[in-house]
């Protein structure tokens, strides 16, 4: 296949007979389809990577090769990619966690040679049953392997991910007779060197990363209220539609909630986001992506989950609510703006909490060595344990157990292996690579300092980004706030809006549902087993705030330390109960969860609250055993077992509805069990209420 013939395919792909290859496109196709080479392509988003791999696929297929396997964090091909594929007569299929029903038919189509390109997400590779039942059967026929966002396989990159570690382990085992294409829009020299070393004998092709229409700006607004106010005022003024990035899921929810309240069409997007009427998170996420693509939303408020490969040509703005951990990560996100539009804005807001959040990510990226040892120790003496069985043996949260297993299982060689539902200890000597962890943590600290400098620099912002990415050319852009010497988006903040935002932040009330299923064998004394019967279940409850957050949560934390919850909290809780919650059937008395360590704190608050809402207080619950602090119990088995026999109920209980007061609610087990004991002793319905929820 020569260039002229390939160009004819390009005409078909883009639907225009005057189209010509962009710089490097033909060279890449030639290397893959004619030389069956391994190639790393570093080109900006929108350069046309998908044209390269679709045309190469068409050529290889016509020569009798098997289908192309595309590993990409995208959930689905973008609309324009699907169009290009269709015009090239490439039958594309997707397999991911959201279309399990279709796996079998896709598999059959692949085996019948009726699929030309298959898209899977990298996390599928860590799923044993997927590999066994779907991937292995078709893996005998792959003709070209494409790895999107290949920089993720380098731990020198800003965005190293465990799923990509598994991918690199597999790539290392590939025989040389399979062409491989790795693509990325963001990679420094060091990352490129690392990727090519890991893939072995790979050609590198690199283009310029500049984005001509993008105007950059940084803006320091320490308080969340002022940043929310700024967003509410400025987002409607910005051109077209865009993305607001936040560091955490709860920030994404909060910012989206605030913008909606201010009449702006905004929705939150994060990895497990659920939408009413949508089967699962992936389907809903695809729906949100489509909504933004179709400009049906003004803004998507997203975490990094709105990721890589999201290729919308007309993103008008990308605003960061908080400073992300690295300059490369920032470039990747802000670089989504302004591809096919004349004018687009990238504004980096920086706040007081950024550093803390980033530091939290940094220090929790790897599990503590003690957790790893506990889990390996438990596995050592067994022939295999499920996650549930492991939790009964080690007092760690399910998330912690899974994190350790995930990190360990992608090591090569790995000390653990999942077979069916059980985790096994493999016959591999293992010591945690503390040197590597130190190196990576140091690297993350360096990246954080670098982006701090970006926030502070008075030089050209675009040039700063390009230098950080080792772009060989970095002249001043002449269109950022620093080049122009004035803001590109108005930096002033409206006082009135700031005050409303502050009120919005304070109202972090949340409903919570009691737990229903207790752990087997956790309650030998109380005798609770399986599903709690409806007649002893608690009603849904309310929390006034999120622990330590910007609203009441900060005051709860402060007052708890001081030993007394102030009257402001009593008033706020009473207002919440009477004006917004209105529990039904209406409670007729108040009781609370007692503590031996802090015998007055909660009863004192509960008594004043009872007075405020005009109900009698009864100390109906007694603490009868000095158990360990509930917050030190990390998973539901230990949380349940720690409560067994801890509380007693007084003999004479009113058979009327009761308000059950506690200060903090974490796992919810204490309130669930105390409510069940009250109901078993003859109380009416139990409505639990707490000052703050602790979300982990």
């Amino acid at each position: 296949m020569d260039r002229t013939q390939a160009e004819r395919l390009l005409h078909a792909a883009v639907g225009r007979s005057d189209a010509t290859f962009r710089d490097g496109q033909w060279e890449a196709i030639d290397a893959l389809a004619n030389d069956r080479a391994r190639l790393l392509v570093v080109e900006r988003t929108g350069w046309g990577k998908s044209s390269v791999y679709f045309i190469a696929t068409r050529i290889l297929r016509d020569q009798g090769s098997g289908p192309t396997l595309i590993v990409s964090p995208l959930l689905a091909l973008m609309r324009n990619q699907i169009d290009a594929a269709e015009r090239l007569r490439i039958r594309a299929a997707t397999i991911n966690s959201s279309n399990r029903d279709a796996w079998d038919s896709v598999k059959q189509r692949i085996l019948a040679d009726r699929v030309d390109a298959l898209l899977i997400s990298p996390e599928r590779l860590s799923n044993e049953s997927f590999v066994e039942t779907v991937l292995m059967p078709i893996a005998g026929r792959i003709g070209l392997l494409v790895v999107d966002e290949v920089h993720c396989i380098s731990d020198w990159g800003h965005d190293f991910r465990p799923d990509y570690q598994r991918l690199i382990n597999v790539l290392r085992q590939l025989p040389p007779n399979l062409p491989v294409l790795g693509t990325t829009a963001t990679a420094s020299n060091r990352v490129i060197a690392d990727v090519s070393r890991q893939l072995g004998d790979i050609r590198v092709q690199r283009g310029p990363l500049v984005r001509d229409s993008l105007s950059l700006q940084t803006l320091s607004l320490p308080g969340q209220a002022s940043r929310l106010a700024w967003l509410a005022q400025r987002v409607p003024e910005l051109p077209g539609t865009g993305i607001v990035y936040t560091l955490t899921t709860s920030d994404a929810r909060q910012v989206a909630g605030w913008l909606s309240q201010q009449g702006i069409d905004a929705k939150a997007y994060y990895s497990n986001v659920e939408g009413e009427g949508f089967e699962d998170s992936s389907t809903y996420r695809q729906h949100l992506e489509d909504q933004l693509l179709g400009n049906e939303l003004k803004a998507l408020v997203a975490t990094t989950a709105l990721g890589m490969g999201y290729d919308k040509p007309d993103v008008g703005f990308v605003i960061h609510y908080q400073v992300p951990g690295s300059i490369v990560g920032y470039y990747q996100q802000v670089g989504r703006a302004g591809r096919a539009v004349d004018r687009a804005f990238g504004v980096l807001l920086s706040g007081r909490e950024d550093g803390q959040i980033v530091e939290h990510f940094r220090t929790t990226a790897f599990p503590p060595e003690a957790d790893v040892e506990k889990i390996l120790g438990a596995l050592e003496d067994s022939d295999g344990l499920s996650v549930r069985e492991l939790q009964a043996q080690v007092n760690l949260r399910q998330g912690q157990v899974q994190k350790v297993l995930k990190i360990l299982s992608v090591e090569s060689p790995a000390p653990v292996l999942k077979r069916k539902t059980k985790w096994q200890r493999t016959p591999v000597r293992y010591a945690m690579d503390t040197e590597r962890i130190r190196r990576l943590t140091g690297q993350r600290e360096l990246e954080w300092r670098e982006i701090q400098d970006y926030v502070r620099t008075d030089g050209c912002l675009m040039a700063y980004l390009r230098r950080a990415l080792d772009d060989p050319e970095s002249p001043d852009c002449g269109r950022c706030a620093n080049c122009l010497g004035r803001p590109v988006v108005d930096a002033t903040v409206d006082r009135g809006l700031t005050a409303s935002a502050a009120r919005f932040l304070r109202r972090a009330e949340r409903a919570f549902s009691p737990n229903k299923q207790v752990h087997q064998d956790a309650f030998p004394q109380y005798g609770f087993r399986g599903n709690l019967r409806p007649e002893v279940r608690s009603s849904d409850g309310r929390t006034l705030s999120a622990w330590k957050d910007a609203g009441w949560g900060a005051m709860v934390a402060k007052h708890r330390l001081a030993g007394r919850y102030g009257d402001e909290l009593v008033a706020a809780t009473a207002e919440m109960i009477r004006e917004r919650w209105r529990p039904s059937p209406k409670p007729e008395w108040v009781t609370c969860v007692p503590s031996l360590r802090n015998p007055d704190l909660v009863p004192d608050f509960a008594k004043r609250l009872a007075g405020r809402i005009g109900l009698p207080f009864r100390a109906a619950v007694r603490k009868i055993a000095d158990n360990e602090p509930q917050r030190e119990q990390r998973n539901s088995f230990h949380q349940c077992r720690n409560l067994d026999g801890a509380f007693g109920i007084s003999d004479r209980i009113r058979a009327t509805p009761v308000l059950l007061v506690d200060d903090l609610v974490g796992s919810g087990w204490t309130l669930t069990i105390v409510a069940a004991l009250l109901r078993r002793a003859g109380s009416g319905p139990v409505h639990p209420v707490a000052l703050a929820s602790i979300v982990r």
């Binding site: 893996a139 792959i142 597999v170 295999g384 591999v428």
Partner: protein, 322 residues
């Protein structure tokens, strides 16, 4: 941990990577691979050369009714399947060796020739399979007395500096191997299927890590049990050993068939345990040329078991071999 390109090529041509057959052609049998490898050698080609470009160019002049060029090409195109399997297996501490590997057991090559397995999967000390030892075979359902005897053979082998070679199954196998391992000796377990699971079991894991034990298999490490694999496995146990002790045999089944095959082929001296309850197979094997082992396992001198003089001379019983 990765394997060389030569090993990759041999794996692609001869190994299964899952039980699932799909539409890939059957991998080459040991004998088919033997023919093909011999031709490559004459052509001065290395297996790795097959991965360098379109194999059809290199294979000009090759013609074989079973090992066709399209079959070879389809097998070589299984790269991603190979990579997934190697990641999982090597990543769990297993290793792979081909006949070209210096550690590949020479006894196996000598005794089985072209029928020796092209690829061995294993775990633990990779030098052990080539070091010989005393094979201990018998039924998984052997009574306690037989298990105790097996264990004693294991202990004795360890004390006298011989490895135990067995099947890694319950009963006789496990007793002999753990007897040796727990007395500071070494052992080789040849498993018919499910190597991966066996390696992760608490009883063997420690010894695998310490280097006292090797588990090997000629079948892919996650294969289900097939009768044909089990029989092959029994042959490999004899072929890796210097002498064999059959603790209990019926007159049919795996232990019997492979013991008889060993007598026919004259691989290693075969000794049978004298049994009080007259296990029918033991006496029958003695009738076919096996020797009676001492009644007390503690009295066994391993060197004596291995003497060539103990090899069966029974051509009249197997006229087709005479």
């Amino acid at each position: 941990m990765t394997v060389s390109e030569g090993t990759q090529a041999i794996l692609l041509l001869t190994a299964r990577f899952a039980d699932w057959r799909g539409d890939s052609p059957d991998p080459l049998t040991p004998a088919e691979w033997g023919r093909f490898a011999a031709w490559l050698k004459v052509r001065r080609l290395q297996p790795a050369d097959l991965l360098g470009g379109p194999p059809s160019d290199l294979l000009e002049g090759w013609s074989d009714s079973r090992v066709t060029i399209p079959r070879v090409e389809r097998l070589l195109a299984r790269g991603p399947a190979l990579a997934l399997a190697m990641d999982r297996w090597l990543g769990s501490g297993l290793w792979v060796m081909t006949r070209a590997d210096p550690a590949y057991p020479s006894r196996l090559k000598t005794r089985l020739g072209r029928n020796s397995p092209p690829v061995l999967f294993g775990c633990g000390n990779r030098e052990l399979p080539d070091a010989g030892g005393i094979a201990v075979v018998g039924s998984p359902d052997a009574p306690p007395a037989d298990r105790a005897y097996s264990r004693e053979v294991g202990v004795g082998a360890a004390r006298q500096g011989h490895a135990v070679i067995s099947g890694g199954a319950r009963g006789v196998d496990e007793a002999a191997m753990l007897g040796a391992l727990e007395s500071g000796g070494t052992a080789v377990g040849v498993v018919a299927n499910g190597l991966l699971g066996r390696c992760s079991s608490a009883s063997y894991r420690r010894h695998l890590i310490a280097g006292d034990l090797a588990l090997v298999s000629a079948t892919h490490p996650e294969a289900r049990l097939l009768a044909s694999n089990a029989l092959q496995r029994n042959h490999y146990i004899y072929c890796l050993a210097d002498a064999a002790v059959a603790v209990r045999s019926a007159t049919a089944g795996g232990t019997w068939n492979s013991a008889v095959e060993n007598l026919r082929r004259g691989w290693v001296p075969l000794w049978v345990k004298p049994t009080e309850d007259a296990a029918p197979g033991n006496a029958a094997l003695a009738g076919l040329g096996a020797r009676w082992a001492p009644l007390q396992a503690a009295d066994i001198r391993m060197e004596e078991l291995c003497e060539r003089a103990a090899l069966p001379h029974t051509p009249t019983l197997f006229p087709e071999l005479a």
